[in-house]
Symmetry: C2
Subunit: 422 residues, 2 copies
């Protein structure tokens, strides 16, 4: 079947031709179709069965071009495949924390998945100061499970390499390599930043020590194939409600450093924290919500570390590659294994700070900020958040090797916002 | 064409059917065929044109099984393909330092390549104390060129990933992961070691700090995809004479840490150094050859570092990924770029020591030693070399982060052999 664009009129026929989807909408079912995507990169159709809401679905179709880049079909086709493959792994290892995958059609670049009708994208309710009491538990489970089970601490060497070979993803990775780790720190026409923080931006671009550190982190990002990472895990890739959390849109997935995903989550929460200096003028209301954010940041890391360690102890197999359990079978070996696990978690913490730090910087001086910050209309108020974000990012990068726990990262946030008076 | 085993009788017909090879042996040419492989994993045929020696060739055919492991055809087929692909890259980036590749036939798992009639495998003449005055120059060029040009310092992100995707090589990598980084340091039935150094072997297997370091190096070996490495670059994979040097047998090639290849070369030279405490009783003769080895070790590293740096300065392109040159375009940026290159070379030095150190250990207590050492018949004399090798290996691993130049690695060799009296 050659590619054709789906629309509200032809989509039901398409669905009924797919064996995996045929039972969702009987011939007499009242069905509504809405297109909710931005129409630029993907179509996103919500197809609801009004008689039986559980039999609804979302169809996401990648368009055969990326308008913004002028790219051609092979990129687009691969994009949908990487997303479907990653969803499959997320459902395998973290069931209930990603939308269920119903069907993938490579020729049509179309993914059918669970409709999350009662969830919302996390970024907006966080600007409205909504708290999510289960979020730290859920996202730390997602991180620990997807990262542990796709790493060499669980998989055998060949299993890992064959899975990795399915995620070459060279075009989408190039976007992140350019727009996160390179272009924001040099002359590049798509960069934009608030003129009121121009001093901070220029200082970043001409700081030799910082730029060597960013180059080192880019090397780790490109080459350290620790686990299958989501690679775009900001609060716009999380849908949730008061009871349930799902991670969506994993089309950037590849085998990279674990700290990148953890850092993305924490850094996005802290950008939201900073945005409330503008969004929430009432100091008490603001302090309350900011305190919830920092508690959540702390809980995410600490729960992530505990869950990752527990998964490792409980799941390592004789053919797990790093290392098989009997490698630690000597007097004192149990303690050495525990110390080795601790060292790996320390490494992930350092890279959480490092990659998270780079992501602070890129949002402040690269091609695109985050809505939490960009929705602050007054440039002076926005600059308060932006200046703090740049300073936190720099320190997370430069001081990452001295951090021994999440409180060290949080202390930097407190330090760099201590003088804020709004 | 289905697979069939080549032999002295059918090989000329095979050659004449291959378009790339048809011109080597005209119908009236006097041709001799010799099978020179060990017959266990591969056939290696030398096919000589007696009338026109330049039109001779070697045909290497991977057998459809690895007898020692009971593996099946897909492994074997892939093995020949990885070797052919690596030879292609080596010829592209280091022409004249690998045998020329004439033809690869995937179905037959057969590689046709240049016949090196005047070269010998390096291990044996080194036991006979032959010196090779151009070896340091040649092998440092091979290392610098193959590693630089397949790294992100030269390639763009997508170029590198697409090349990397051709070298999954999951089965042969598993062999090295097991037999270099895991099994020698735990109970494993194939391990063997000299009972006279049992104390050293048991100490390695129960040293928690050392075992954590080996696990860390295994992680780097498996996951740090810095460049296309040969991954088996011992002196048995080098053919040379007084004028010329070629690196052969790259079937283990994959994208891994650069220090692994450099470490393999240096560590094999030093194992030969240690073997002369037994092979060369005359102290003056021995001292002279050992001095040549250490000079060569020093020259290889120093020339490698200088050549790698020069290649980088001269070849980095706007789309080289780590980093594009204009990333360093700021006041002081030239110095920062130089400092960054220096940092990468320091990292390679550390990993040369680390991976080289692991390879010392594995040769002394794993499945297979090297002929330089195993050919010492007297166990007591062999133990002198083996004990020193284990001690050097441990120190290269544990002290790798304090090493700042090749003389630090050499000093360890001198320290650990200072008390040898034979």
């Amino acid at each position: 079947m050659p590619f054709y664009p789906l629309n509200e009129t032809n989509i039901l026929d398409y669905i009924r031709q797919r064996p995996a989807l045929a039972d969702f909408f009987p011939a007499d079912a009242p069905v509504t179709v809405r297109e909710v995507g931005d129409g630029n990169l993907n179509f996103v159709f919500v197809v609801e069965n009004q008689a039986d809401p559980a039999n609804s679905m979302v169809i996401k179709q990648a368009l055969p071009y990326l308008r913004v880049l002028g790219e051609s079909w092979p990129l687009t086709q691969a994009r949908a495949r990487y997303e479907a493959q990653a969803l499959e792994e997320h459902n395998r290892y973290a069931p209930g924390l990603a939308p269920e995958l119903y069907d993938f059609n490579e020729e049509m670049a179309a993914i059918a998945m669970e409709y999350l009708g009662t969830h919302q994208i996390m970024r907006k309710p966080m600007v409205a100061r909504e708290k999510f009491p289960h979020f730290a538990d859920h996202i730390s489970s997602f991180l620990a499970r997807t990262l542990y089970f796709t790493s060499d601490h669980y998989l055998s060497g060949p299993e890992k390499k064959l899975l990795q070979a399915k995620f070459v993803n060279e075009e989408l990775r190039k976007l992140q390599e350019d727009f996160v780790y390179t272009n924001p720190y040099k002359e590049s026409e798509e960069n934009n930043w608030n003129p009121l923080v121009d001093d901070e931006v220029q200082a970043v671009r001409s700081d030799p020590v910082l730029k060597m550190a960013i180059a080192e982190l880019k090397d780790a990002y490109m080459n350290h194939a620790e686990a299958l990472i989501h690679a775009d895990l900001h609060t716009g890739s999380i849908m949730l409600n008061q009871e349930d959390t799902r991670v969506i849109d994993p089309e950037f997935a590849f085998f990279g450093p674990m700290g990148y995903d953890v850092g993305a989550v924490l850094q996005n929460l802290i950008l939201n924290y900073l945005s409330h200096f503008a969004h929430t003028p009432d100091p008490e209301v603001r302090a309350d919500y900011q305190a919830w954010i920092l508690e959540t940041v702390r809980a995410i890391w600490n729960q992530f570390a505990a869950k990752f360690d527990q998964l490792w102890v409980e799941n390592a197999r004789p053919d797990s590659e790093l290392m098989p359990l009997d490698y630690w079978d000597f007097p004192g070996g149990e303690e050495a294994f525990a110390a080795y696990r601790q060292r790996i978690l320390q490494h992930i913490l350092e890279e959480t700070a490092g990659h998270g730090g780079v992501k602070f910087l890129r949002r402040m001086m690269g091609v695109v900020s985050v809505w939490d910050i960009s929705s602050i209309e007054d440039p002076a108020k926005r600059a308060v958040a932006e200046r703090a974000a740049i300073r936190i990012g720099k320190r997370w990068i430069l001081e990452r090797r001295r951090f021994t726990g999440i409180d060290d990262l949080i202390q930097v946030v407190l330090d760099e916002t201590a003088a804020v008076t709004v």
